[in-house]
């Protein structure tokens, strides 16, 4: 079974938005989006000791290679990075095109995503990619089992757990509750440097420069501002009527 995992290299530490470009400052150190580590771990578990293949795919600048190598160190077999100057600033529509292009080349049985991206907090990418690949998609997977040509997912929703089944090939996004990602062993880290690593340009994934980056994006950031302050923060002192005052406040906010 071939499993492809989409991973993202995200800025480390406290994010900062570049006031000029209004984009996230990605110039500093980055790391593997920790939600994607769950997806890599799940792929490795599903592969187990079998003769499947786990390939990690990412779209990003050259240094995204660091995150791909971390996934290789965990045990993934191969890495693919789509890197092109034109890509910077791509929104969901553009990003999903590129990833779908790279995944179409792979023709994986199962495509895994992590729950969200730390940097954009977006929890939506997989649905857009699945749409382009014309494959069934299931998200918020707290448990994944594959038997034969079917994948069975326990999906975590606001109402509890659904169990959904779909034939392969399919796209599944895993929640961070699904597993505890392994630490790469030293041997794994050292071996990662020797594993196959492909860098692709836009043309290799069948996407035009005009379809990505700023020209290819259908959304834009207009301005940055301070968040509305918490309004009138109220303060009460003393125990006597505190409980009643709190209840009144909650009632006013329609929370009780």
């Amino acid at each position: 079974m071939k499993i492809a995992v989409c991973v993202k290299h995200v800025p480390e530490g406290h994010g900062r938005i570049e006031p000029g470009s209004k984009r996230l400052d990605r110039s500093g150190e980055g790391a593997l989006n920790h939600f994607d580590a769950n997806a890599v771990e799940e792929a490795l578990r599903l592969k187990g000791d079998g003769d499947g293949e786990v390939v990690v795919v990412s779209m990003g600048p050259d240094k995204a290679a660091d995150s791909l190598r971390k996934a290789l160190a965990m045990g993934a077999d191969r890495a693919v990075l789509v890197s092109d100057a034109a890509i910077a600033g791509s929104d969901l529509v553009a990003t999903s095109k590129v990833l779908a292009g790279a995944l179409a080349r792979e023709q994986a049985d199962l495509v895994l995503f992590g729950q969200q991206a730390e940097d954009a907090d977006g929890a939506v990418l997989w649905a857009a990619v699945a749409e382009r690949l014309r494959r069934p998609v299931v998200s918020q997977a707290a448990e994944v089992t594959v038997s034969g040509e079917t994948v069975r997912v326990k999906r975590q929703t606001e109402f509890g757990y659904d169990v959904i089944e779909t034939p392969l090939p399919a796209v599944v996004a895993v929640s961070d509750a699904i597993n505890e990602p392994r630490y790469p062993s030293l041997k794994g880290i050292m071996g990662a440097k020797k594993k196959p690593f492909e860098t692709l340009a836009l043309a290799d994934v069948g996407v035009d420069a005009g379809e990505v980056g700023d020209p290819g994006s259908k959304t834009e950031v207009l301005a940055l501002g301070d968040p509305p302050s918490r309004g009138d923060a109220r303060k009460i002192e003393g125990d006597a009527n505190a409980a009643q005052a709190i209840v009144d406040f909650l009632a006013e906010k329609r929370l009780v």
């Binding site: 480390e12 500093g28 150190e29 790391a31 630490y183 062993s185 030293l186 050292m190």
Partner: protein, 555 residues
């Protein structure tokens, strides 16, 4: 009056010595512990030698040289001023790199030294040992990251998030190190993703762990390498700020907020350096032989910033980063009597190569790493006798400018133990006579042996306002520290100590790891930024799980 030394930590260096197991060892040619300036200079020089001698490279197998780094990545645990003397880097790169290719912020353009009082300041001429013409301002963290890239290009394998917890020794010879486990819980239990450490064996192991190096301390004891005089340390706490107006020239200060009286033993000063046009760094450095249990270097830094000299630069600015680290201050008289053992070499701050009066250590670290690479390389040649080959490193160090520089200023720090005024006079005498007066070596006393006293010093620390001054917890946050909580404590101390000692630790630690609560010491190991102060003052820091600790980027 108690001294912390009366309560030695529950730590036995012998526990950190082990024989290599045969299962699954990873074998490399040369193993460097620490991706700081010393370790990376060693890796770079070794790579150059291998390029010139490919036959040696072939004999060393798949990984001729590996560098272990316990931080998240090279630079994460590096912190210094820093004003760097470029001579060692020039020599290392054999002038293959121009100065403008090195990640410096720029040359020093003028400097001022001030003596501060609470409300005033007096400019004093820079002591000759502190003249910085021809030197460059750098962020050691960034320099480390850049050096790591050069090391990888030179063929080294850099392995971050990997701690070295035990020295592998067999038949009296260092065979390599054992790396730390990952995925243990608070009680030491194995968690779901437990990954045991591995044995890494090598022909030569180079310890470049920096200040308070864990295995360096173990090796000094096990092989009897320590000199007659114990090492002593200072604690530096530093912040990086974005500022509205550029600062031109570097600033050093002495005096306030430190007290000059001999009984306090408060030796140190502050620095403020420009980085980019809109960035400066500011720091406070104080010797850990201070006696007042209420002294807190972090809070002294906060106090310092309220002084006009600093306030006029920082007002309206934004604090970007914070960090803390110890600096070995014993100088020449505290150097190990030998810097090598069978299969082992010691470099950099771990060996104590810091020129205190000049506030310089980076260029010595780089030079010592370079010399270590040459000695290691020589020892791997056919016909070399391992024993003599590595002793050539000691000879090389003794013939280098590291040795002559440190010898010249050798008693300066110890003189200041007698207070600023007397110490200042002695220091001037030493400078003028290039180290020949006063004669003899002043004996250093261990930091933890200083008896404690208590004053109301803490009442003068400013209440943090979150704009100019900050509390410790938000500072730990600003160091990028995200240490995983559910792991065993890496701090070895006795918690049943008298109040004086407990409170001293509470104030001492810049990261609020220790608190005196209900008559005993409460430890929050996940706050630790691994500065090493606790080891100087009665405890023992050991490496936590690899990847833990601060994630410095601009310190």
């Amino acid at each position: 009056m108690t001294a912390p030394a009366e309560f030695p930590p529950p730590f036995d260096a012998d526990d950190a010595i082990a024989a290599p197991t045969d299962e699954d060892t990873i074998d490399v040619g040369v193993l460097v512990v620490g991706a700081g300036p010393a370790g990376l200079a060693c890796a770079i020089r070794f790579g150059q030698l291998l390029e010139e001698h490919p036959e040696t490279a072939e004999r060393l197998g798949e990984v001729p040289l590996a560098v272990l780094e316990k931080g998240k990545q090279p630079g994460s645990h590096l912190l210094s001023g820093a004003v760097v003397n470029p001579r060692s880097l020039r020599r290392l790169f054999k002038d293959r790199k121009r100065i403008d290719e090195l990640p410096f912020f720029g040359p020093v353009e003028g400097e001022a030294v001030y003596f501060l009082t609470r409300r005033g300041h007096v400019r004093i001429p820079a002591p000759p040992t502190m003249r910085n013409h021809g030197n460059y301002i750098a962020s050691l963290s960034q320099l480390g990251r850049w050096l790591a890239e050069q090391a990888e290009e030179a063929g080294a394998m850099v392995l971050p998030e990997t701690s070295a917890v035990q020295l592998l020794v067999e038949h009296g010879r260092v065979r390599g190190v054992r790396t730390g486990d990952k995925g243990r819980g608070r009680e030491g239990e194995e968690l779901a993703n437990f990954e045991p450490g591995a044995d890494i064996t090598a022909r030569v192991t180079v310890l470049a762990e920096g200040t308070q190096g864990h295995l360096t301390g173990v090796a000094l004891q096990h092989f009897g390498l320590a000199g007659e005089n114990p090492q002593v340390w200072a604690l530096g706490v530093k912040e990086v700020w974005r500022v509205a107006k550029p600062l031109r020239g570097i600033v050093h200060t002495m005096g306030w907020p430190l007290r000059g009286g001999a009984r306090y033993r408060e030796f140190g000063g502050s620095f403020m350096y420009p980085m980019a046009d809109d960035m400066v760094c500011v720091g406070m450095v104080v010797g850990l032989d201070y006696r007042d249990a209420e002294l807190s270097v972090h809070d002294l830094l906060q106090e310092l910033k309220t002084h006009t000299v600093f306030r006029r630069v920082l007002d309206g600015g934004e604090r970007l980063e914070w960090g803390a680290k110890t600096i070995p201050e014993g100088g020449f008289v505290a150097l190990p009597r030998r810097l090598h053992a069978p299969g082992l070499l010691l470099c950099g701050d771990g060996a104590g190569f810091v020129n205190v009066p000049a506030l310089k250590g980076v260029h010595y670290a780089v030079e010592s790493g370079r010399l270590a690479a040459e000695a290691a390389f020589a020892s791997l040649q056919p016909g070399a006798t391992p024993a003599t080959a590595l002793s050539a490193y000691d000879d090389a160090i003794r013939q280098s400018f590291i040795w002559s520089d440190l010898q010249e200023v050798r008693n300066m720090r110890q003189a200041f133990g007698r207070g600023f005024w007397l110490g200042g006079a002695l220091a001037s005498a030493m400078t003028v006579t290039k180290g020949r007066f006063p004669p003899g070596d002043a004996r250093t006393e261990r930091d933890a042996e200083q008896t404690l006293l208590r004053t109301d010093r803490a009442s003068q620390y400013p209440a943090p306002d979150g704009k100019l001054t900050f509390d410790k917890l938000s500072s730990v946050f600003a160091s990028g520290n995200k240490t995983r909580d559910d792991q065993p404590s890496h701090i070895r101390i006795r918690t049943d100590v008298p109040e004086e000692v407990g409170r001293m630790w509470e104030r001492m630690c810049p990261a609020q790891v220790y608190e005196w609560v209900d008559g005993e010491v409460r430890v929050t190991p996940s706050n630790c930024v691994q500065c090493g102060a606790i080891t100087a003052k009665g405890g023992r820091l050991t490496p936590p799980e690899g990847g833990s600790g601060p994630e410095y980027t601009r310190t």
